[in-house]
């Protein structure tokens, strides 16, 4: 291990700053391909996540020093792993790895050196390492924000700066979040492992939550100038697709992938010419991405084929599939969507789901029926500052010709969102209601 100043160095940041030469660009790309596997493999060897990440970062620093001169090695992944392992051996010799781990580490290193290069290492083992890393980064003892930051950092290979940029927060905030998350993990002595049995089900829930949170932040940004940030959606999709290959027997993993693929298929249609949001029913369906729809439907089928009742993500994917299959809004199977929301609500009762269901009821059985349901949610504490409640209510009131009430609701909704684009859309709707009232 190098000096502490090198250790603290954020390797990925260092790359962006000196991104002059071709070698540096190649190293950055290689890092994003290899880093998760590298950290995961090292974590299994040294048994400690923080040490593993530091070793990986040191190997990256070594690559940044040497590759621009020597050229990129033929097998860069194996080079990085080899370099990191040498340093791990050093650590073991100097007694810097936890006492109880010594023998294990020695054994692992021996086995590792018998292997002719990492890429021939048992694929299954590599897969398990990667899964272990995912479960660790998404550990429920961490806050949601910490899980998201840590996942993007160690599994996405994103720099602290890139994560901060994506979430529109200061770099220091993300850096602190990551440091604190690592400390929490080591203080709680969280073991690097792939959980099994009932624990696994709960832990998997946390993993899926993190992936979908990342997706959603990209799909409808909660703050800032942009309504969508596709790179976050792509990152979440990539993580989901990787997870689906690692544990293909978990229906909800395919469920969340299906949901993301189908929602992402609408990304291009969701934004108007000047960056304004375009809502589902107003979208030009010819712009929906057929490839992602096909992939989404295939993932949903994989979830269904595994048998059993569909979980909440797969059910939401089934709802998205209803939209994807309809060539016009009028062709949408709204009664089926209502039934699917009923099923979601039984599994995970939530006021937000009830609100969505009310929208579907409004479409299937008329705005009065929808409004009746929405009105039962007005005093729901969880929806007190949720901008979509007045937005939905405004929409239903408008359809019923109650323009003045609708206008007030859209204005209230506009005051509740921090997203600039969404505020503009809602204020436009309010103005339309005012105009419609005058025209009457």
């Amino acid at each position: 291990m190098k000096s502490s100043s090198t250790r603290a160095c954020d390797g990925a940041v260092a790359i962006t700053r000196s991104a002059a030469g071709e070698a540096h660009r190649a190293i950055e790309a290689i890092w994003r391909i290899e880093s998760a596997r590298l950290i995961a493999g090292l974590a299994r060897i040294v048994g400690d996540f923080t040490t593993a990440e530091e070793l990986a970062q040191d190997a990256l620093v070594a690559a940044l020093e040497q590759w621009p001169v020597s050229g990129v090695p033929e097998k860069p992944g194996a080079w990085l792993m080899g370099t990191a392992k040498h340093q791990a051996i050093d650590l073991v010799r100097r007694g810097q790895v936890l006492e109880r781990k010594h023998q294990e580490v020695g054994r692992d290193l021996e086995r590792a050196s018998e292997r002719p290069g990492m890429e021939t290492a048992l694929d299954e083992e590599v897969g398990d390492d990667l899964l272990g890393l995912i479960f660790m980064a998404c550990h429920p003892i961490l806050s949601r924000d910490a899980r998201v930051a840590l996942t993007l950092r160690v599994l996405g290979g994103l720099s602290t700066e890139a994560i901060a940029r994506a979430f529109l927060v200061p770099v220091s905030t993300i850096a602190q979040r990551i440091v604190r998350a690592k400390r929490t993990l080591s203080e709680a002595r969280v073991r690097f492992e792939v959980p099994t049995g009932p624990v696994r089900v709960a832990r998997l829930g946390s993993v899926l939550e993190v992936i979908y949170l990342i997706f959603n932040e990209g799909y409808s940004a909660t703050a800032g100038e942009d309504w969508v940030r596709p790179e976050l959606c792509e990152e979440a999709l990539r993580l989901g697709r990787i997870l689906a290959e690692l544990i293909p027997t978990e229906p909800e993993v395919h469920g969340v992938v299906a949901l993301m693929e189908m929602q992402a298929s609408r990304l291009g249609a969701r934004v108007g010419p000047s960056g304004e949001p375009v809502l589902l029913l107003d979208q030009d369906r010819a712009r929906w991405d057929r490839l992602l729809i096909r992939r989404g439907l295939a993932a949903l089928e994989r979830a269904e084929r595994l048998g059993g009742a569909l979980g909440p993500y797969a059910l939401q994917a089934a709802i998205a599939a209803c939209h994807a299959r309809a060539t016009t809004p009028a062709e949408t199977d709204w009664p089926r969507i209502v039934a699917l929301y009923d099923a979601v609500e039984q599994l995970e009762p939530s006021p937000v789901v009830e609100l969505n269901r009310a929208v579907a009821v409004g479409m299937a059985f008329g705005p009065a029926a929808g409004l009746e349901l929405v009105d039962t949610l007005i005093h729901e504490p969880a929806l007190k500052s949720y901008h979509l409640l007045p937005a939905v209510r405004g929409d239903l009131l408008r359809k019923l010709g109650r323009y003045e009430e609708a206008r007030a609701e859209f204005e209230r909704a506009a005051s509740l969102t921090a997203n600039v684009r969404e505020t503009e859309l809602l204020l436009r709707r309010a103005a339309e209601c005012a105009a419609e009232r005058m025209a009457r």
Binding site: V228, I242, L246, L267, G268, R295
Partner: protein, 115 residues
Amino acid sequence: MRVLILAKEGEQTEAAAPPTPAAMAEYQKFNEDLVKAGVVLEAGRLHPSSQARRVRFDGKKRSVIDGPFAETKELVAGYWLWQVRSMDEALEWLKRAPYEGGTFEVREVFEYEGM
């Protein structure tokens, strides 16, 4: 971002004997690695260009031309559609492909126009 990888081969390799089982296994392993990394969106291998047809547009006129075609230096033999984070990442993946010959062209696909 999305990139389209076009596998370009000469006339000879395009119509060459099927690959050996060992080469096939290597290729499959590479493809699996790509799928496991969440990179592949779509992949396909094309029938030889001798079976292909072309439609040429000239004003209102359309003429259909049957293969094989005269220019056979760089025929597209297959394609991949990849989801990657940069052109460099695509190149790093591509360099790992177990091919002994041929040229592969990497093209970025337009996405999210107007965003």
